[in-house]
C-alpha cells in the first residue's frame, strides 16, 4: 500500500504543470489506447475529449475549441495523415498544435507527420514523463503564438497577421511597389494647449479608431503612429490589385469620417478638427524591422519621404489630400484632381508634380 500512496503523491505532483487545465482531443481507434491516454492526461490536470477515428476527430475540431490534439496515425475511415492534411488546409485549425502518438515503424512516416505540420512525435507506449514535457511545451508554444497573433492584430489587419504567421516573422526586406500615406491633424499643438490632457487622449483614441477603420477597410496597414500623425502602407505586405486607388479611397473615407466626427464635436461646442493627407506611390523597401523582441512592418525609400513632404505641403496649399505623379498616373480619371504644378521639396534634386483631390470628390 505504501507503493500505492507514493504513486498517488507522484500523480498529484504531476497535476500541477504550467499548462494544466487545457482542453485536449485524443484521436485513437483503439479503446485501450484511448482510455489510457485519457487517464494520463487527466492525471496531468487536463480536460479530455476522444474520437475513435479521423473523420470524427475533424468534426469535433470544427465544432468546439481545443488547445491541443493527440493523434494516432493508424485509424479507419480517415487516418492521422488525412487529419493532418485537412488541418493544414483549414485556416481555423492550421495553428492548432498536434502531437502524433503512434507505434509507427521507421523514420519515414514520422518525418511525414512532421512535414504535414505535427508539432511532435511520441512513440507508443507513451512514457508519462515525456508526455507531460511534450504537452507542456506544445501548450506553451501555442500560448506564445496566440499572444503574438493578438499583438500583431493590434497594428495590422488579419491578412497581415496571416502573412506574418506564414513568413515566420522573417526580418528580411524586399523591394515592392506600394503606396504610402501620411496623415496628421492640422493645428493639433494649439488644440492640445486649449484642452485638458484627458480630452486630448480621448480625441486621439477616437481619431485613431476612425482612421484605422478607413485604412484597413481599403486593405492598408497602419504601421506608425506618432502623436497625431500616422503612416500607412497600401500594397505591402499583401499585394493589392490597385494600391494607389485603395489609398486615395481610404483618404476620402478618412476625410468623410472626420466630417461626421466634426458634426458631433460642434454639437458639443468643441472646435472641429481638420486633417492633411499626403500620398505617394513607387518602389519601397519593405520588411519587418527591429529586433526579435520588438519588430514592426515598415517601408523605407524616396516614396516614403515624398509622401511625408506632401502631407506637410497640405498646410501650404490649404488642400486636404495631395498626391504625387505616380499615384495620379495610376488613378487615371477615376478621381477628379487639380494639377498644382511642380514643387521643389526639401531633400529632392528635382521639382515633382503635385496633385490635389478636388473638393467635390470629398463629398
Amino acid at each position: 500500500m505504501a507503493n500505492e500512496a507514493g504513486a498517488a503523491a507522484s500523480r498529484a505532483r504531476m497535476a500541477t504543470g504550467p499548462g494544466a487545465g487545457a482542453r485536449l482531443l485524443v484521436a485513437d481507434d483503439n479503446k485501450v489506447n484511448r482510455l489510457l491516454m485519457t487517464r494520463s492526461l487527466e492525471l496531468l490536470g487536463h480536460k479530455v475529449a476522444t474520437a475513435e477515428n479521423g473523420r470524427v476527430a475533424l468534426e469535433m475540431l470544427r465544432s468546439a475549441t481545443y488547445d491541443l490534439v493527440l493523434l494516432d496515425m493508424e485509424m479507419p475511415e480517415l487516418d492521422g495523415f488525412g487529419v493532418l492534411e485537412q488541418m493544414a488546409a483549414d485556416n481555423q485549425l492550421r495553428s492548432l498544435p498536434v502531437i502524433v502518438t503512434s507505434s509507427l515503424e521507421g523514420v519515414a512516416d514520422i518525418v511525414r507527420c512532421i512535414e504535414l505540420g505535427a508539432d511532435d512525435y511520441l512513440h507508443k507506449p507513451v512514457n508519462p514523463v515525456l508526455l507531460k514535457a511534450r504537452i507542456n511545451s506544445s501548450l506553451e508554444k501555442k500560448r506564445l503564438r496566440d499572444q503574438q497573433q493578438e499583438l500583431i492584430k493590434r497594428f495590422a489587419t488579419s491578412e497581415v497577421a496571416d502573412d506574418l504567421q506564414e513568413s515566420g516573422f522573417a526580418l528580411g526586406g524586399r523591394r515592392v511597389r506600394a503606396t504610402v500615406m501620411f496623415s496628421d491633424i492640422r493645428g493639433f499643438t494649439a488644440l492640445v494647449e486649449s484642452q485638458s490632457p484627458e480630452e486630448t487622449i480621448e480625441l486621439l483614441n477616437t481619431y485613431y479608431t476612425l482612421m484605422f477603420d478607413a485604412i484597413t477597410g481599403q486593405g492598408g496597414v497602419v504601421n506608425q503612429m506618432i502623436g497625431d500623425g500616422l503612416m500607412a502602407i497600401f500594397g505591402a505586405p499583401q499585394a493589392l490589385t490597385d494600391s494607389p486607388l485603395a489609398a486615395v479611397r481610404a483618404a476620402l473615407d478618412m476625410v468623410e469620417m472626420i466630417d461626421l466626427f466634426n458634426v458631433e464635436r460642434v454639437g458639443m461646442d468643441k472646435e472641429p478638427i481638420r486633417i492633411g493627407i499626403g500620398i505617394a506611390s513607387g518602389e519601397v523597401v519593405a520588411g519587418y524591422t527591429g529586433t526579435q523582441q520588438r519588430a514592426t512592418y515598415t517601408c523605407i525609400g524616396d516614396t516614403v519621404n515624398l509622401a511625408a513632404r506632401l502631407e506637410a505641403h497640405t498646410k501650404e496649399v490649404q488642400r486636404g489630400i495631395l498626391l504625387d505623379g505616380d499615384t495620379q498616373a495610376a488613378l487615371g480619371d477615376k478621381v477628379p484632381l487639380d494639377a498644382l504644378g511642380k514643387v521643389m521639396f526639401k531633400g529632392k534634386s528635382v521639382a515633382v508634380p503635385v496633385y490635389a483631390v478636388k473638393a467635390q470628390a470629398q463629398r
Binding site: 504513486a7 483503439n30 485501450v32 493508424e74 479507419p76 507508443k124 508519462p128
Partner: protein
Amino acid sequence: MPDTIDKNTFSELQEAAGAEFVTELVDTFLEEAPGMLAELRGAMDAQQADKFRRAAHSLKSNCHTFGVTRLGAMARELEANGLESGAGALDALEAHYAEAASDLKELSRGE
C-alpha cells in the same frame, strides 16, 4: 510468471496510471482482444491487407502497453509481413493468446 509478460513494464504502468485503473484497462483489453483476433482472421480469409495490418498494429500497440512481450512480438511480425504471414503464424498467435490473457489477468489482480 513465464516469459509472456514483462513485469517491469506492467508495474511501471501501474505506477503511472494507478493499479486500480490498470485492472480496469486490462479488462477492457481482454474484452477487445478477441475482436482483434477475429478481425485478423477475417481479413486474412478475405485477403484485406490494410485491415489485416491495422488489426495487427492495434494488437501490438496494446501488448506493448501492458508488457505482453511475446504476443506483442508475434503481432508485430504479422503487421510487418501482412498477408504474407500465412495461416500458420496466425494460428500460433491465437494459440498463444489464451496463455497470455490468463497471465495478464492474474497479474492485474495482484496474483
